[in-house]
């Protein structure tokens, strides 16, 4: 419970032991993946599936990269993700500003309508949206991958929370300073709520990068696969050589892991925005 450092030594040791055991449990799948990715599948099995790599092939990562065309797929994922994050930031900022600082009729109803869209995930709206994309000839295309996600109610909600935290005095002072709405947004609202905006950006990035269901529905050509779909294709294509699929999964996961370690503060703040008070 976040208590003291003045625990007796045996207790400290006990806790370290518990934490280590838990860590092993958590990391086990990743560890096994690393081992099997590095091992030659046949040799590994022959050795009876030990807990260390067998007949290591360091070149497996290169193979996975090439055979899975991971570079192109990550680039496509990156393009789609950046597009989605940028669009979501813009639409969410504007919407949040309108709901916080502008007075217009039916404002509360409008906000409820916005929030209601969170009840309609892509899993539910899949069929009609695929139809729409088909009729617009946007299957297997970059816009097809990104369009449904250019706006976000969650982002509007989160950023609105941030805007509502701006002291009213600050808005009064801006008014006296002669800042109109756009100037206030640019000069005051956004800089002051930068942490919240950054947190949302991280969440948005994760969501877009990790997406599976929608890309799976609108893409049938290999060259339009995002990295997530690419992982499935690769493992499905080589059931015997599972080390390639695993190596690809590792390659796909590492950059995100690094990014999240760097941005952990923003990530945590974004995740806990709805969950924890204070």
């Amino acid at each position: 419970m976040g208590t003291d450092l003045n625990l007796p030594t045996w207790k400290k040791v006990a806790w370290y032991a518990v934490l280590t055991v838990l860590s092993v449990v958590v990391l086990f799948p990743l560890y096994m993946t690393l081992i099997r990715a590095l091992s030659t599948p046949v040799s590994y099995l022959q050795k009876g599936q030990p807990l260390y790599p067998v007949d290591i092939q360091w070149g497996i990562f290169r193979r996975a990269w090439v055979e899975g065309d991971l570079g192109a797929k990550m680039a496509l994922s990156a393009l789609v993700t950046v597009t989605i994050v940028a669009a979501q930031l813009i639409t969410a900022l504007l919407a949040a500003y309108a709901f916080t600082f502008l007075k217009f009729p039916f404002r509360r109803l409008g906000f409820a309508l916005f929030m209601a869209t969170m009840m309609l995930p892509i899993e539910v709206t899949l069929i009609p949206n695929v139809q729409t994309m088909r009729s617009w000839h946007l299957l297997n295309s970059y816009p097809g991958l990104a369009l449904p996600f250019l706006a976000t109610a969650f982002g509007a909600f989160l950023i609105r929370q941030g805007f509502m935290g701006i002291p009213p005095d600050l808005r009064d002072a801006s008014q006296l300073d002669g800042f109109g709405h756009l100037a206030f947004l640019r000069r005051v609202a956004i800089p002051v709520t930068r942490p919240v905006i950054a947190s949302f950006a991280v969440i948005s990035f994760l969501g877009a990068w990790n997406q599976y269901t929608w890309p799976r529905a609108v893409v049938s050509e290999g060259r339009w696969e995002t990295i997530q779909i690419g992982l499935k294709s690769l493992s499905a294509a080589r059931p015997e050589e599972n080390n390639i699929g695993l190596a690809a999964a590792i390659i796909a996961a590492i950059p995100i892991l690094v990014l999240l370690i760097v941005l952990q503060r923003q990530l945590i703040r974004g995740l806990t925005a709805g969950a924890v008070k204070g």
Binding site: P167, D169, D172, A173, G178, F179, R187, P191, V192
Partner: protein
């Protein structure tokens, strides 16, 4: 010219009337303090002049312009907020500069106000910083400043645009007592230096008394009295003002007006006070009145025809003086005495008197002053 005039100004928020038919003229270059308890409408009145709220009824004037429909930034006013409202992400320099970015300023030698160039803005900021002793702090952000420094930045932002009117909303309330006393002097000094109209809102009557050229007391959205501090102190027009100004507040007890051998008195408790001859509106013999007398004007005396007996409840020592808290007819009365000699015994009875000129009479129904 920068007078500020409220003409029949009313402000309603839904069913609530925050300001009720306010008629007030703030003279050019004076230091007018709007004084009153929380919720009395003083801040709303200030905000209407600033342009942050619109008047429901009435006319607002600054100088010779009617400003009801003029946007805040075009009124040439500045405001210092209670919380200072500094932009937390900007440096002191940028904070002070901010009014100059979007507002037009009058430039000496030119007829039309215009926006300043980057160089001109930097000059103005440097000037304001120098005046307020902020030159060393220009690169810092508000979080790295003390309360007093932040307040000066807020002032800097207010003076940099050389407004016609300075508006201040309880700017001292977030400072500690010592700093408050110091800043009061600085504000008065600033007022003299810039020779501009100050409209200052506070609930603290000490601030009002020490800084104002005139005080306007408000409660429940209505103006109670306007006048120079000493005048308001010596002749409160109603019970509210009487009790609000002065610390400790004026004592008020119930009494009866009597005339004895042609001389007016008020009967209080077991005795009576002599009253100065009242004007034309003398109360009826036997009428109930509310008697007001300030703690410093009550004196302990011996038995006499114009004294009132009270029971001593407590004595508070304040170093240079002591407060004797007494009880008459269930009402508490405070007497201020120098701290010399033995204090009256607690529980004992003493007699109080006061000079007739220091007795204030109020109508118990209308609360208005009688004498």
């Amino acid at each position: 010219m920068s007078e500020v005039v409220f003409e029949g100004v009313t402000k309603r928020f839904g069913d609530v009337t925050a300001v009720d038919q306010l008629d007030l003229e703030v003279l050019n270059e004076e230091f007018m303090v709007l004084l009153g308890p929380s919720g009395c409408g003083k801040t709303t009145a200030l905000r209407m002049i600033a342009g942050l709220d619109t008047a429901t009824e009435g006319t607002l004037r600054i100088g010779d312009r009617v400003v009801n429909d003029v946007e805040a930034k075009d009124r040439n006013v500045s405001m210092v907020f209670q919380s200072y409202a500094l932009y937390p992400h900007m440096t002191v320099a940028k904070n002070i500069e901010s009014p100059l970015l979007a507002r037009k300023v009058r430039v000496p030698g030119e007829t039309e106000p215009r926006k300043l160039t980057k160089v001109e803005r930097a000059e103005q900021v440097a000037d304001a910083a120098r005046t307020l002793g902020l030159s060393e702090l220009l690169g810092r952000k508000p979080a790295a400043l003390s309360g007093g420094q932040r307040q000066r930045v807020a002032l800097g932002r207010a003076i940099v645009s050389q407004p016609d009117v300075f508006l201040m909303d309880e700017p001292l309330s977030n400072l500690d007592a010592k700093l408050r006393a110091q800043t009061r002097l600085e504000l008065v000094g600033l007022h003299e230096r810039v020779a501009t109209t100050f409209l200052y809102v506070t609930h603290d009557q000490v601030e009002a008394m020490t800084m104002a050229t005139r005080i306007a007391i408000m409660t429940d959205g209505r103006l109670q009295q306007v006048g120079a501090p000493q005048g308001v102190y010596e002749r409160p027009q109603n019970l509210f003002v009487a009790r609000f100004i002065g610390s400790p507040p004026m004592n008020t007890v119930a009494g009866t007006y009597v005339v004895d051998a042609g001389e007016p008195f008020v009967q209080v408790g077991d005795g009576r006070f002599a009253v100065a001859g009242t004007a034309e509106s003398a109360p009826v013999e036997g009428a109930k009145v509310v008697v007001g007398v300030r703690p410093e004007h009550l004196v302990l005396t011996g038995q006499g025809p114009t004294s009132v007996g009270v029971t001593v409840r407590a004595v508070e020592w304040l170093g240079h003086e002591r407060h004797v808290i007494c009880d008459v007819d269930g009402t508490s009365v405070i007497v201020r005495q120098p701290s010399e000699g033995a204090p009256p015994a607690i529980g004992g009875t003493v007699r109080l008197s006061a000079a007739p000129g220091e007795i204030h009479l109020f109508d118990p129904d209308t609360s208005e002053r009688i004498n």
